[in-house]
Amino acid sequence: MSLANTAPKTVISLQDVDKYFGEFHALRKINLTVAKGERIVICGPSGSGKSTLIRCINRLEEHNSGKIIVDGHELTDQVKDIDAVRREVGMVFQNFNLFPHLTIVENLMLAPRLVRKTAKAEARKHAMTLLERVRIPEQADKYPSQLSGGQQQRVAIARALCMNPAIMLFDEPTSALDPEMINEVLEVMTDLAKEGMTMICVTHEMGFARSVADTVVFMDAGEIVERNTPEEFFKNPQEERTQKFLKQILSH
């Protein structure tokens, strides 16, 4: 087998992406490619544009210039392309954003039922399989408000998986959690990574970055300052801003 054939396929590509919020320049000429199966951790100080960057990938934010191509679909104003991308990309939010009026299993069934027109019994079966994967099948018929934060976030991961996405985006998935609940969520994410899911994860969990990521991206003031393998990134940061950031978050 030749090496050329095993070269990983690019699934996400951002080219010179700029994003403004009014006057505020949130993303500056971002260039980033993500290969199939790659696990990227994005870190950086708050307000550096990390969340905005991943929110542009499924068009929860619209970029102002440059190109974003996800799995062959360029993100434009075309609703068809946006829907196609969103079906391929799952997202997990900092505040879980579970639908409070639906039970856990209904949270997982809603999108397959409406978007894919999956039959009810089949949607429920798939949902239960996913709940087992995140280790809370026994909570299926409860409402989100009855679950702990860690459990809710695991449900949110399962819900994002119910559309069988090829790519998962995580927007600070553990930042709103009590410390004792962080690990149960990271474990589920690590399982996903082991299964070969393409993942982009905005997080401050440097232990997770070290053990799971293929690539660590450091952002500051709307720019990608540095990207490297986790070993090099932590051992041998190149840029002054990266060194300063690492000193701040690793000194505790």
């Binding site: 499924n58 929860l60 829907d83 969103r86 079906r87 990309v89 799952g90 997202m91 939010f93 505040n95 954003n97 579970l98 639908f99 409070p100 009026h101 639906l102 809603l110 999108a111 409406l114 978007v115 409402y143 989100p144 408000s145 009855q146 949110a156 819900r159 994002a160 119910c162 559309m163």
Partner: protein, 229 residues
């Protein structure tokens, strides 16, 4: 002064003869008003100025003027206009009943649309984003995520408006209709016993209000079953 307690009780059956009309006015204008309110609310949140601006003007006018004035303009004023007398609107407007329903509908629609808008705005933005990220269309998100949560948020204010509408139906007695208030005024003019008759009337309105509050409390509890303390 002679206060006749027995008259309070004995006038109730007579007043109840107007109950049917009160209920008709209340229910028809309640339903039409709610439909109007939904349209106005959708116009307000559409994000398109040519839809939201007319809705805002409409709401401003109908919330900003007394309902009695609106009723009089519809009943006394509109029939003066020739093309209205010649149009299909005349079918509604030539009867005081139609005028009453129209005035109550237009007025409650303005109030309820703002109540509904408050409910929609109260649904956390992140839930819509979660729906969008799952690939749900705008329409699906509105129907399956925003609406059930907005309804729950709007119930307390909406129940207020429904009760207020019930009481407003009494105003139609000023345009010759014999609802309970209209009948009360007739009895008063015959018996010269305003206290007794109006106290009877108050009792009937209070009973209706009590039943309405109970019904909404049940509805609210049902819509809140996901909120576990």
């Amino acid at each position: 002064m002679n206060f006749d307690f027995s008259l309070i009780i004995s006038s109730i059956p007579q007043l109840l003869e107007g109950l049917g009309l009160t209920f008709q006015l209340w229910i028809f204008s309640g339903i039409f008003g709610l439909l109007l309110a939904i349209v106005l609310m959708l116009m307000r949140i559409s994000g398109k100025w040519y839809l939201s601006a007319p809705a805002m003007v409409y709401i401003y006018i109908f919330r900003g003027t007394p309902i009695l004035v609106q009723l009089f303009i519809i009943y006394h004023g509109l029939p003066q206009v020739e093309f209205i007398r010649e149009s299909f609107l005349w079918v509604v407007l030539r009867e005081p009943f139609g005028c009453g329903i129209l005035a109550l509908t237009l007025n409650t629609g303005a109030y309820v649309s703002e109540i509904l808008r408050g409910g929609v705005k109260g649904v956390p933005k992140g839930l819509g984003e979660a729906g969008a990220a799952l690939g749900l269309s705008k329409m699906h998100r509105f129907i399956y995520i925003t609406t059930p949560l907005a309804v729950r948020l709007a119930i307390p204010a909406y129940s207020n408006d429904v009760i207020s509408l019930m009481k407003s139906t009494a105003l139609v007695s000023t345009i010759t209709l014999l609802d309970m208030m209209g009948i009360a005024r007739v009895i008063v003019s015959e018996t010269y016993a305003p206290y007794e008759i109006f106290i009877s009337l108050m009792i009937i309105y209070l009973v209706i209000t009590w039943a309405t509050q109970k019904a909404f409390a049940l509805f609210e509890r049902r819509m809140s079953r996901h909120i576990i303390q």
